[in-house]
Symmetry: C2
Subunit: 344 residues, 2 copies
């Protein structure tokens, strides 16, 4: 009920009370160089006293610049994503921007609808991690080509050449796989997500490269795809493998959740980890230190990726010239723990 709200204080009110023009107030409030010191202090003093708060809506409308950054992610309540958002939000606030978030819930339709809504809010820039379902990017190209910078993070498009903040998935997966090989594994299984998501495709490439570099045969039966890579899925996939005629002696899971499922499965079946089955995950979620045995993993710098994405967004939005560095790659690190370390 707008009529229940107290009337807000405007620069007009301050102006009349001080017997100056509204424009003077406006300028004084932002320390415009042409305004007298005395006026500035007087205006600010009164503003404080009257509880004046600049109306960002009006200001944004006038300048055609909102100070709001849109964030569009699959799910907010996942460790990696919530840390990513944490990074975006913290960096945004430091630069004086607000963050407006929405989740696609991994649905393409939601993603399209939310992208439109965010666009209507005249966001300054958009940070996106794609829904699992998404394979075309028209809704995002539209935003981008209208002049609003779009920065992709983690789940980036395969065909669209947009700005992106990523890790080297191929190298990271190669590292993880090589680590298992170094620990003596010869039959290594891979748990991956839907291949049309490029990150999973790349991680598979790294896995294959490592095997080939060590003259190990790639057995397609050991490459398992899951749409969600939940703990339960990981458990199920592991069971399937361990009960097969030729069980693997190592598993590389492209996320930690599914790896934890595998550990639990091994425990249930009485398979010794890491002696009979070495396991490594991906993301280095807190859960790695909680599960027994502790889970080896590869770091995935979520907070940092969020910060970088925001900075890149501002860089692109405020640049005079097109920004040529369209891809920002962050470092990852192997974190070996007991789930894969065999005493030698």
């Amino acid at each position: 009920m707008s009529n229940k709200r107290k009337k807000q204080v405007t620069i007009y009110d301050l102006a009349t009370e001080l017997n100056v023009a509204p424009s003077t107030v406006s300028r004084a409030l932002k320390d415009h160089y042409s305004i007298g010191k005395a006026t500035i202090t007087a205006v600010k003093e009164l503003a404080r006293k009257r509880g004046y708060r600049t109306n960002i809506l009006a200001s944004s409308l006038r300048t055609r610049e909102s100070n709001t950054i849109g964030v569009l992610v699959p799910w907010i309540n996942r460790p990696f994503i919530s840390s990513l958002i944490h990074g975006v939000e913290a960096a945004a606030r430091e630069s004086g921007y607000n963050v407006i978030i929405s989740q696609s819930q991994d649905s393409y339709d939601h993603e399209v609808a939310n992208a439109k809504t965010l666009f209507s809010s005249r966001i300054h820039a958009l940070v996106v991690s794609l829904a699992m379902q998404t394979t075309d990017y028209e809704h995002l190209e539209e935003i981008s080509s209208s002049g609003t910078p779009v920065i992709f993070v983690d789940r980036v498009p395969s065909t669209l050449d947009g700005h992106r903040v990523v890790i080297d998935n191929v190298r990271s997966a190669r590292l993880a796989t090589q680590h298992l090989i170094d620990q003596g594994c010869r039959r290594i299984a891979l748990f991956k997500g839907a291949s049309h998501q490029i990150i999973y495709h790349e991680r598979e490439c790294g896995y294959r490269e490592a095997l080939q570099a060590n003259d190990l045969r790639v057995d397609d039966e050991l490459i398992l795809t899951s749409d969600h890579l939940t703990l339960e899925e990981g458990n199920r996939l592991a069971r399937q493998l361990l009960q097969s005629p030729h069980p693997p002696d190592g598993i590389f899971s492209t996320n930690d959740n599914a790896a934890v499922g595998a550990i639990k499965c091994a425990r249930e079946l009485g398979v010794a980890v890491p002696e009979q089955l070495a396991i490594i995950g991906f993301n280095n979620d807190p859960v790695c230190e909680i599960i027994d045995p502790p889970l080896s993993s590869v770091t995935h710098p979520a907070v940092e990726m969020g910060r970088m994405a925001l900075q890149q967004a501002l860089r692109v939005a405020n640049a005079k010239m097109p920004v040529t560095e369209r891809r920002i790659e962050l470092e990852t690190q192997l974190v070996p723990r007991a789930s894969s370390l065999r005493r030698r």
Copy 2:
């Protein structure tokens, strides 16, 4: 750079092209009853074709109603909070609202600053979970008394009588403690957060009530306070207790994190869980099922609390009459698991 942006399509453009007045277009777009069927379809058709998107800023300015809900929480990247936000966001979107988030990082100063910024954005309502540091509520009272509904969730103020969505902390804590007693515990320790946060105070009350109801002495040495209740803190507190002359035979931790720390500590010291030390946490985070032994806990319906908070926010914001139901309480449930179940 606004000048890099393509000029946006306005109702004006549509109006000229269709030879009608802008006001007609505006009304047609929202199916105003007084506009002819033919005009409506024509307008909508052209709008679609030209890629028209209503400018929410202008609309909000004019109507003095933004369709944005503010969310102010300590940290986004915590399981309970990110699920809470998930709930708020999902419900908001279903009702046609956007969500703008900011985190206080548990600092009072941040909380005050962010509250001001959100207020400047002319949010429709504000959902808040307090920073650990916060003990005065002027910054929020100001918003509330200006007519913007403020809804507190979980970490609610002790002295301010605002709208709130909570659980029955006393009862929940009583349940948890009684459960340990039922399992044969006689010396039960309590891990709690800063007492000026009412939720911890209430949980302590529940704990005391349960002990007294069973004629067990309350030993103040067993009540340990920690500012953050992290896993490491839990580990440290548990060690302190277990190495004391009279170690406890049960621990009730007011969050799961610290309880996990206690389990790890017990494992490190060779104390059997639950036989020598029964442990129960609070929140029922995913980690409960991952730790070994699985951690007993009390559910804390994060997503549901988020949804309810949003609904209450809209109810209050759009009510003709003051909303009298200022407190919404959700159910919790005891979830016994191996960390506290002693075979009998």
